[in-house]
Amino acid sequence: MATPLVVSDVAKTFTMHLRDGVTLPVVAGVSFSIRAGECAVLGGPSGAGKSSILKMLYGNYAVDEGQIIVQHGGGLIDLASASPRTVLSVRRHTIGYVSQFLRTVPRVSALDVVAEPLVERGEDREAAREKARALLAQLNLPEKLWALPPATFSGGEQQRVNIARGFITEHPILLLDEPTASLDARNRDVVVELIAAKKAAGVALLGIFHDLDVRDAVADRVIDVTAFAAGKIAA
């Protein structure tokens, strides 16, 4: 099986210049890889650095040390040292991300928020909307909400828009930051089904799930983040 994502010896420290340059080591020596068709889950208590690792993999956080090797556009690139332009291209074509919260844009309908990643990849707008409708229906989002901007939606409704937006594309790598946090049981089951379908399609998934039922249902493997605690290495 192909290995679309290899992380080796990644370290991250925050330097707080406004607090006299105090340093907050987050993680060090982070090394793992994800195979195609596999769902790995980052495990460990809050504050262990799970979200920080996801954010480094998506380029939201800079990487201080180490490499993040991604199969992108027929070659291998190191995300840790890639230019902003390369990171944007990786986001468009290779790595998808479902964040914990939806960042809404005023006046854009839920349907178009979901369809946008496909349009960005060059798909026809109407075809993209058709796929968006199917996903929103599968996630049980009431049809009367589709034409409205999601800013006023409930937490669970926004989360489903967010999930649909993340799952609509065929990115070979998908990062999930607690996608089921504010969902009821029925919709959690839908997300579990969506993840299973991605695995079957050969997507490499890496996620954070605090919900143990969901985690047990989707995880092939748990990566224990406490093993990468920055303090351990320093001590």
């Binding site: 380029g59 956080y61 902003p84 332009r85 291209s89 006046r107």
Partner: protein, 258 residues
């Protein structure tokens, strides 16, 4: 995606006597990319924008632009006439104060049509039809086409200025605090409109702003300036979520939470 940038800026500096306007600024801009330049007043961001839009000549450094025919031209070696032609056709410049970018005593339609005539269109019916189309794209009712911008609200004037700039199909637009001085609700509408137009038209843009929320909504890439120098640059969300330079950390931590 094209593999060649549209604009290449190298070691650009502008001094006012011994005072630094901007110093040693280097970056590339690709087609379809929006770059935000942020920093507080006096950080040199407006000086940089003026140099790039050739309203001001730099003290040193170079900037090259890839013309429509694929030829690279050095901006500061072009003749004044060539630069003006570029500004009228391939570039747009959106001023913070719409009165600086509009002709306040001619009609809204003429403000838009004038740019078309500058690129050689002489057919009145076609010019008017294009003007109507552009007014509707910036959400100005067709029945206001014969009104002067003096009679428009601040938000409408700004939208008209945007239509005037985009009507010739420019490839690069410079914007100086495009939402400055507008009410928050008007700002949101304008930002949303700009975001849609930039995406639909595949425009490259350089947006100078002191407002990080504007940078976040419009740009993919960001440069933070202080005392004329670029102290940090990178992907917009990376700079905002993981600011590394002391000054950027100060800026980001100063955002008011609502």
């Amino acid at each position: 995606m094209t593999d060649e940038p549209l604009l290449r800026v190298s070691a650009l500096s502008k001094f006012y006597g011994s005072r630094v306007g901007c110093e040693n600024v280097t970056f590339d801009l690709w087609p379809g990319e929006v770059l935000a330049v942020v920093g507080e007043s006096g950080s040199g961001k407006t000086t940089l924008l003026s140099c790039l839009s050739t309203r001001l000549l730099p003290s040193s450094g170079t900037a090259s632009y890839r013309m429509r025919d694929g030829q690279w031209r050095e901006l500061y070696r072009m003749s004044e006439a060539e630069r003006r032609f570029l500004m009228r056709t391939d570039w747009g410049l959106v001023h913070q104060n719409p009165a600086d970018g509009l002709r306040m005593t001619v009609s809204a339609g003429a403000n838009v049509g004038e740019r078309l005539m500058a690129v050689g269109d002489r057919h009145y019916g076609r010019i008017r039809a294009t003007a109507v189309d552009w007014l509707s794209r910036v959400e100005i009712d067709e029945d206001r086409i014969d009104d002067e911008p003096r009679a428009f609200s601040g938000g409408m004037r700004q939208r008209l200025q945007i239509a005037r700039n985009l009507v010739t199909g420019p490839r690069l637009v410079f914007m100086d605090e495009p939402t400055g001085g507008l009410d928050v609700s008007v700002q949101a509408r304008l930002l949303d409109l700009l975001r849609g137009l930039v995406t639909d038209l595949g425009l490259a843009a350089i947006v100078v702003t002191h407002d990080l929320a504007v940078a976040r909504l419009l740009s993919q890439r960001m440069m933070v300036m202080k005392d004329g120098r670029v102290v940090e640059s990178g992907l917009t969300d990376r700079v905002l979520e993981d600011p590394r330079a002391p000054y950027t950390q100060l800026l980001v931590s100063s955002i008011l939470q609502v």
